[in-house]
Amino acid sequence: MKSPRRTHALRLLIAWAVLSVIGIVIAMQIHMPPGDQTRQGADETSTISLMLVLATPVFVGVVVFLVYAAFAFRQTRGAIEDGPVSRGDLRLQVTWVALTAIVVFVLAGIGIAELAGSANATDFSSQPLGASGTQPVGASAGHELQVQVIAQQWYFTYRYADYGGVETLHLVLPVDANIVLHVTSTDAVHSFWAYELGVKADANPGVDNVFYVTTMHTGSFTVRCAELCGLWHGNMFDTNGKVVSQDEFASWISGQQASEADLQLPPYAPMYFPSPRVKGS
């Protein structure tokens, strides 16, 4: 002698539980970007995967209810009959709000912990830009590799402050290193998005936007501009970014220094301002 109310609730609960478990199992099989080339990227991957897992029962619950209600609570065809009067249930409402609040605060807590964790574990002590680097770079605190990312319409240039400010058009980074990216721009607002590295940092003119990254695996990565920056925004990408071994990096950077020895590069600066009054067509 079950009340119809309990029957409905039981059916919904079972359907929700079963489908949620299936959904979570599927969700856990999906590989989420950006991967584990860097520690920050690995953090982002785990956050996205965790959210997907948490979102699955929510999604399943709503869909199960909508479908169930659409069939089980249907008006008889042609009839105009009123449903039972019920103007609310304070206990249920409080429970619901409390539940969503708990989920929200847990999520925010995880996010904040991850932010704080990534800042603490990195332990990048401040080092004046342009100080000479030692080998191997980035192996210990205080010896991180400083790279400046200069965005301009419509490509990125990279300057290695520790190596006399040599410039390249493709970013090459050593593996197992702490790297500080100083992102700036000389004209419009760009956004430096190194997809596999898990880096996205806006490039503003006259601003030194700092982003920390710790490389873990060698491989190549793609760099894209993620903020609308004018005509060739869509073509502002480079698929030739590389994370290489420390040895390879050392020989590559000395080769760069040698090839640019004769070049008259502008003096290194922490940020660049565009020439005044860039406006009008």
Binding site: G206, F273, P276, R277
Partner: protein, 192 residues
């Protein structure tokens, strides 16, 4: 703000005054957000001082005396209007005085813009905010004076000031609001 729907038997001066009271307040809060954006800009750009160009070379604060005169005239406009509403016998005279003070206020503002002591064409943080904030204030004051003139026109014996004094009274709030913004702008722009 008199509105009368066609064939509206429910139209009553009290309803009208109440609508104007609430509507004016909502408008003033909205306008406060407008000016708050400029004050935010002031402190933001001043704190950033990008490229050391908050006060570019050759930029000095404009003369404080003329700024003070402008603020005083704006306050006088509001006070005269309040007096006009309170004092039925002198309504017309005081409204004319309020209008005169308002016109003088705008006149002095234009004079100030023409004798800034710096060239806003050269850019810079402070010159930009100065032009933007005081310009916006001047435009709004000019709009308020149009309404003030309407009230003068309606305060003649054939006008509707007599029946709608309660509605007209809420306009004082607008004038005091503009004077208050002018005062804060004066303190911020000339002393900070």
């Amino acid at each position: 703000m008199s509105e009368r729907a066609i064939g509206e038997p429910e139209w009553q001066p009290e309803v009208d005054a109440n609508l104007t009271r609430i509507g004016t307040r909502i408008f003033l809060v909205a306008d406060l957000f407008f000016f708050a954006a400029f004050f935010f800009t002031f402190f933001y750009l001043r704190a950033m001082n990008n490229n050391y160009s908050w006060l570019p070379a050759g930029t000095t604060h404009p003369t404080r005396a003329i700024g003070a005169v402008i603020v005083l005239l704006a306050i006088l406009t509001a006070v005269f209007h309040l007096g006009a509403i309170r004092n039925a016998a002198m309504t017309r005279t005081l409204l004319w005085l309020a209008l005169a003070a308002g016109v003088l206020c705008i006149g002095f503002q234009i004079y100030e813009f023409r004798n800034l002591g710096f060239d806003p064409q050269q850019g810079g943080g402070f010159p930009s905010v100065f032009i933007g904030l005081k310009g916006a204030l001047m435009v709004q004051t000019a709009g308020a004076l149009l309404w003030l003139a309407t009230q003068i026109s309606q305060s003649n014996p054939a006008g509707d000031m007599a029946t709608r004094r309660a509605t007209a009274a809420h306009f004082s709030n607008v004038l005091f609001f503009l004077a208050g913004i002018g005062l804060i702008a004066y303190l911020v722009l000339y002393f900070v």
